[in-house]
Symmetry: D2
Subunit: 353 residues, 4 copies
């Protein structure tokens, strides 16, 4: 299978701005078909891809086009339903996040994919962002020392209402935003999630959540996130047992704090650290991870292996999401202060055995 | 009392580098005596202060010198014992942090000071650091909105063994370092502490602690701290219900993130924020708070009021410290993984009723 | 001409990493042919573009393919020669920088293009970099005030030997690197260049150059550049008569320093400034300017106008380059100190009348 | 002379905020007298220094007090006249900058001091600022390589009118502000100044100046300075022949860019650099240089040596100032554009033989 024939589903902003241009740069991947409920939107593909076939209906596209893989950027219910349809036909599927609403749905999708032996992938681009890859490499090095804690500050200003017809703003927020942060803690944590402790505050329509996760390795993670911020920002810190710390600010700048840098550089003064910036002309889709995630997905198809960010890899993340949501209560006019802590809980996970 | 006569106790590094030079800049405060168990050290005061009397023994100094106030930089047991001695004689006392080991001791000191109507003060210089004062002013403004959460990252590389003859490294660490962070959360929180949740990890002799505090107002705070870092750094963020955030990095640089800055500046792009740096030539003891704390203490003496950072103000901080320490267990060779979470707990505070 | 038929010349790194992916994102621009002296390299285009024709020889490609435009990324002599060939056939041409070696050659190319009424373009992507566009917009606003001075620090670590068969390392350096900086000074300066003063220092094979430019408007610019740096960085500052300054660091972060920001934000403290960062997920070719330059070129073709960064627009830049090179002397073993100032000169420009 | 008896002259803001507190921290230096034309201001010293004698008249103070040294913070004419008076009596003198108006005056003061063998000092605190000292140490190291160029950006928003009764705003600006920058170039340059090239622009009452200096060693320096900025900032960069660069921003943060850092830290990526920040609690007068300059002055008195920043050391700085001022012309309503380049010149220095 030297040339992979791909169909796109959902020709909206995310496809046009990130997925399509990334796909166009991957050699020997051919976009042969596109599909959108809005046929006019589907047709806009023709301005970018020569001889592409466009459809309103996925089932028809799957029947007609002999596709090797689907790439989807739709609401989660479509990711779930179309994935199952494609898997049934043996077509590999890559879906934008979130792949579905619940841990139960995720498991159903995993079962289907396992049965049909298709490669699956989820658009967890943060994990493939070039600076995060550098962090992972550094954090894995002996010199850095074993990871002790990961702190993520993930700021957003939306969603402030439920998305996709769902009833819970909290779950919508977690699936739309925090899924990236939780996924990264599972990448830097190790083995299974053993404990989750979360606190959610709400003011007007905005929320603020703190989520603490403990892993079976003894590693821990804490996330400060919410829609109660002026704009999107993303910072993370990884701390090691050897008293090293590496920080990544806004996916741009890394700083490595080590106790022994001083002697290598100028001697004597301990407040030296190493920092890194991307090149002024850094371009394309490698830094933001879109290129890496799709490249990895197609490599897995070619080599007959599983993709790192497949459906299975999301189980711990959905476990955390389920536990954070479990504490949510219906809030009425209870005479509480304006700033309400709507739930605070700690559940010993039993699902990860 | 236009001229305040002061005696210094403990002529070590903190006194020489910060307290003494700050005192020398406060008008109409006269250092008339100094005391140190090491008499040679006491004598070094003479190089800086004309006609100062030096002593080996505090009781003698108190008897001979007719002091208005003592300023102490000693171990906590000396702060406690000498404070009680000075209070008994009606001498105002300012002690470096920590003022004592336990909440019980603090309450005893408060009782004595209340009985004798002396002004007390604790060296919580972070609270008086000029940029923290700016943060407090901004956080109190209507435009910023009500505080929802305070996050403090307080990194240190010591202590890694118990201090002052105490048996617990954890309590020593909290009293030597985290006391500043906890105090700041109580400054930005409101009313009483209602919940504390903490996790302490240990690797070799270094520790990492996360402390979450909930206040009766619904405001929350989280602290990431530890001795598991290469050097001392201190960052804080204050988030408001109005989706504003102000950050202070290393007590130097402030950044104010607001959802509406864009329109004021250049229109249209929401990623603009306001930032502030101190002047290149910023000098002296105002930025680090040493000047502010001492000035405030002496003003309180002059005006017969209580000082903002007096013994009483430390009750919530010691409540938090007691609760974090309550979970500490004796750790033997238990076959746990190298990185151990030695305690994880949440106690509903009953002491603040 | 709704669909523009494009041929690529030179299928090397710059084409593959920046030009090709940018072209693939521009609607209704079709890459129909590619050409490279190395035919295998030309053939690699087929992995990215369906049904593309590949050639070893430009003349053949021009004859066979009925192209509307050529996009070239070659050495300057090829840019010059192939441009002239394409212009002769009425084909629009976009060349990577540098378009040619000398001011004389540039004028010859301009004459040809004027005669044949083709649209020309040069790959001056810095000018189209999104943050530079923001700078230009701010600098043009009345609130900012009239530009007084532009300072550019443009660091590089190469070239350290002559390029493209040319004999001068200095000219090679100016054409390969400084061309961007000089071009930006002409964008922020106004009207014609009236004076150039330059100093070039050389140590081993690395050079350091300072170039001061005065414009007929009274605006000035200064450039510090060279190959005597560890890696590529690019910072610029624009200062206005109204005491405002805007800085752009490494094409990422902008900071706007104004005398009146204080009152808008928190009152009273004058060290507040506004700063801007790109989104953590900023992706693609807009920030680096590759998308903007190509979009502008094709828009000019469609609308029958001239492109902002056309051959004519480069005259002032080549005037400056000629003047900096005019001072270069042959350096032998002259017993000068290791660090030699090889030329220092100031020429009153006469070419801009 | 174990105890040095010092008299202060000029009890204004600079004395109270920086010189006095620095002096109070230097062991065995005793402030015994103070003098100010405004006697009330002189008397304020008594709130800080026990038993200090205060005067309205310097001559009287010199006669009465048996002083070892004077420390002055006055206008330049007073620095000049009182220095000469003190030198005549064999009293060592430390004057704030500027010590005088012209190179001629400076030479007269040098002659007097040489004749009477007194130690002289000028308040060039930038030179003694702790981070500048670190820069000097790094720049002197073999690993860094020989300095090739120093770039200083020195922003100010005043003076915008002549100071001290002088007629020239330009000279006032250079003496009040740029004296620091020029002095630093002479510290990093080497041997004598061989060339100066300067450009001064003026808009309304604000000015912008660029000054390029070449030294006999072949090292060069460039200064961008002016009163045309919103507030005071100070950045410098030192570039070496070995392609290293060290930058200092606002006297706070240093960054060391080296071509070989990569391999030491994480291998493979060349965009790593080393950076340094002061401690969050950095306090006092060491970072801003006030402590260092005064300590150095008194050490020189004690050891009978000359002080690094003595009157003689300022000759190159005044040479540069004279040359920048030499080009100044009287500007009338000449019909020039609003933004005028009032002078542009390059003079081969002959005074440094």
């Amino acid at each position: 299978m030297s040339l992979i024939r791909v169909g796109l589903v959902g020709i909206g902003a995310q496809t046009k701005e990130n997925l399509l241009p990334s796909l166009l740069q991957i050699p020997d991947v051919q976009i042969v078909a596109g599909c959108d409920l809005d046929f006019e939107r589907a047709q806009t593909l023709r301005s970018y891809v020569r001889d592409v076939q466009v459809f309103k209906d996925v089932a028809t596209m799957l029947s007609c086009m002999g596709l090797d893989a689907l790439v989807l950027a739709c609401p989660p219910q479509a990711h779930r339903d179309i994935s199952l349809m494609a898997i049934e036909r043996g077509v590999h599927v890559f879906v934008e996040k979130p792949p579905c609403f619940t841990l139960g749905e995720l498991k159903e999708m995993i079962d289907a994919a396992t049965r049909k032996k298709v490669v699956t992938g989820v658009g967890l681009n943060f994990r493939f962002a070039r600076p995060v890859q550098q962090l992972r490499k550094i954090a894995a090095s002996e010199k850095f020392g074993q990871v002790a804690h990961v702190q993520i500050n993930h700021y957003a200003n939306k969603p402030r209402a439920p998305l996709w017809g769902h009833s819970s703003t909290l779950r919508s927020f977690l699936l739309a935003q925090t899924i990236h942060s939780i996924d990264l803690t599972t990448v830097f944590g190790k083995d299974s999630v053993t404990d989750v402790h979360s606190t959610v505050q709400q003011a007007a329509d905005a929320m603020l959540a703190r989520i603490d996760v403990t892993f079976s390795s003894g590693r821990t993670a804490s996330i400060l996130t919410g829609s109660m911020f002026p704009y999107f920002e993303f910072d993370m810190k990884v701390i090691s047992e050897k008293s090293s710390m590496i920080t990544l600010d806004n996916l741009w700048n890394m700083t490595l704090h080590e106790s022994e840098i001083a002697t290598r550089v100028v001697g004597g003064d301990k407040r030296w650290r190493n920092s890194w910036q991307p090149s002024p002309l850094d371009s394309g889709y490698a830094r933001s991870g879109y290129n890496g995630e799709l490249t990895g997905f197609f490599n897995a198809i070619r080599t007959g292996t599983s993709f790192e960010a497949d459906f299975v890899s999301m189980i711990p993340t959905y476990q955390v999401i389920e536990q954070v949501c479990a504490g949510e209560v219906q809030v009425g006019d209870t005479g509480l202060p304006a700033l309400r802590v709507i739930e605070e809980k700690k559940i010993r996970s039993t699902t990860n055995a």
